[in-house]
Symmetry: C2
Subunit: 411 residues, 2 copies
């Protein structure tokens, strides 16, 4: 008997008919002798509809009230899914995030999980029930309702799997697993059957949408094995787990892209100690997640600072930059919204120093200009013009030998 | 400075525009210097839509899961209403029933309030906030989410008013107050400006829909003054409070009707001690709320038992009657779905013994046949054929001098 946590996203429970299919899968697993915990998101576009409703009422609704509003989406899902399981004669019980003791910080709209007391889940499993838990939500120690932000349901699933000591955490979505590149861009992209946490983390952080970074991070911290698979078929999916060190590691496992960022450049920043710190504290004051940060070589006692930030935070970032520029006496600043970040990720890069040179020359041969570069031990990222990103992904996918036979995934 | 609990029903918050209007009223009251707690129901038809969704999934959804589902309706309302108040620059905070410590029994779908620990409401009021609380819901001591059943939001409002020691509990709805009869049936019905708890309780129990019986009962038990008024205008409404004994009491304050019941008759029941008890324990086993119960005079050692029950419980009641009839060896049973119960209510009836005679002859003069009769010290009820109920209400309204000038309420 295994204990499995199965997570289903919004598209998997978009309609009552979809719910019935998910119920069938839960029951099949339960009847096969496993203990089953299901984490579920809000139905289809419900969250978007609630956000839209809020904006009809208020231009800038308070985050506490947004969390109060949005958590109803998952609560509807768990109740309906429990009913669907019960209607098939199996025993089920639903719990909200607060009910299963998912304790979070009080950062409304992007709370961090602090602790889980999954006692009521364990009790319900012991009674032979299929347990259905609302993703994306928790509560502060003093009882405020919070949401976990983007990818929150994945995080709930992984955290519950860790808290319960589950054997596996299955993340079901409309994607068949993790691919060497987005099959919509690269028709010859291949499914990756196994990937380590570190590589998966870099893939997620650089644009592969299938798993949220936070959930992979949580899985790595608690050694939770993740199985990414399609809600709609029985394909093999992708297993994310600790890399076996004896295994030969691909130099490059995948190519990712991210078109959701903008680039700021602050020109002629006085090259004095502490100036960069002041710029970035301003941005931190506005709660902006920076991604790439590059400071150019100094010339004539002045330097340029560039960074990328999420496009959705453009307004806040602009305000922060304006303040910083005034404060430090920089000459000017510009923002470029038409960028894309292309990354190659691979655990084998650590031992193959020539990878960066290969990446840059492959892009150069295709006539693609590189703007910013950033690296980690197992990732290389370049910012390019947004109009060139598809070409860049294909070039790199081919360069590093990832092309397989063309699949249907791109259709 | 007064502390006021203001309750708004579903039609008062049916759309974002309605929410804005309610927000205006809350703020006006707050700016006038009062402490304001608002209890709110689900928007418009949301509860019905959720019920419909549940029935697409399951024919007989478990009540625990229905409560999990339905409580989301009020939660959406409180979040949006808090946003609407905040968007106008006033300070507000929303709480679910579980959050404000509305502790209930575990009778899902019709839980009883056991206790209220309104500490977080008191704290928020002390911080100058308008406090918005979800009606209709609570939680069991072990954290299960419950609903209070029909009229639950009124009950929440009264219970909160009692728990907080509020000066008044304002029940705002699409009705201007309590009338001497339903103005849709009797255009000359008049608004009752003041009414005692006992009379209001009889009015509510006999069909006046404006307040639920449970909320009036709770108000009486805790001496909470209720002010029933329209959400949409500033009419005087109706004050429900302890009757001043020095005040002259109307013989009949109002005429009510109820067409939501069915009548069962069990024929030729053996007239032995304990037989009636067995019939009614069967019904209690099925959790059926009985209303009128009449046992006819015994003839030849056999008797007839009639009772009315809510039409929505027809199936369960039928099953119970079938069991009981088999058990006690009665001859037959019949059910009549086409009945109406007409009641006259008045505190002055206690001291005017001829009221019943006047009621019966007025109906007889109009050719209306009386089927069952039941009485309380301040109420007289008759069951008549459903097709005659409007005529019966009008006849009695005139007979007891309640007609005023015709109003527009019936339009």
């Amino acid at each position: 008997m295994s204990l499995i946590v199965m997570k289903f996203g919004g598209t998997s429970v978009a309609t009552p008919q979809h719910m019935q299919r998910v119920a069938d899968r839960l029951i099949a697993r339960h009847e096969a002798g496993d203990e089953v915990v299901c984490v579920v998101s809000a139905m289809g576009k419900v969250t978007d509809e609630l956000v839209e409703l809020a904006h009809q009422i208020s231009e800038h609704p308070a985050e506490r009230e947004m969390d109060m509003l949005l958590t109803t989406g998952e609560q509807v899902s768990i109740a309906l899914l429990a009913m669907a399981v019960q209607a098939r004669g199996a025993d089920a019980v639903s719990f909200t995030g607060p009910q299963v003791g998912i304790m979070t910080s009080a950062n409304f709209s992007k709370a961090q999980i602090l602790a889980i007391d999954a006692g009521c889940v364990r009790d319900a499993l012991d009674e032979g029930k299929i347990v259905i838990v609302a993703g994306f939500q928790g509560r502060t120690p003093d009882g405020q309702i919070t949401t976990l932000g983007r990818g929150g349901s994945d995080t709930t699933a992984v955290a519950l799997a860790a808290g319960l000591g589950a054997d596996i955490c299955e993340i079901n979505s409309d994607v068949a697993g993790v691919f060497t590149a987005d099959p919509r861009i690269v028709p010859s992209a291949r499914l990756i059957e196994r990937i380590g946490y570190d590589e998966m983390l870099e893939m997620a952080s650089s644009g592969a949408g299938v798993l949220s970074m936070r959930s992979v991070e949580a899985a790595r911290n608690h050694q939770v094995v993740i199985h990414c698979r399609s809600s709609f078929d029985d394909g093999p999916g992708t297993i994310v787990k600790e890399q076996d060190p004896s295994m030969e590691q691909a130099i490059v496992s995948g190519v990712t892209f991210d078109t959701s960022e903008v680039k700021f450049t602050i020109r002629a920043v006085p090259d004095q100690a502490g100036v960069a710190a002041r710029v970035f504290s301003r941005l931190a004051d506005h709660d902006i997640n920076l991604d790439m940060i590059i400071q150019n070589v100094s010339e004539d006692g002045a330097t340029d600072i560039s960074f990328t930030a999420p496009a959705v935070e453009l307004d806040a970032a602009t305000a922060a930059v304006r303040e910083a520029v005034a404060e430090i006496g920089a000459r000017e600043w510009i923002v470029d919204e038409k960028i894309a970040k292309i990354s190659i990720v691979g655990a084998g890069m650590k031992t193959h120093p020539r990878v960066s040179a290969r990446m840059f020359s492959a892009l150069a041969s295709a006539g693609i200009n590189i703007d910013l570069i950033s690296t980690s031990p197992i990732r290389l990222s370049c910012v390019v013009a947004q109009e060139e990103f598809e070409e860049a992904v294909r070039v790199l996918h081919t360069e590093f030998g990832l092309d397989g036979p063309a699949t249907d995934e791109g259709e």
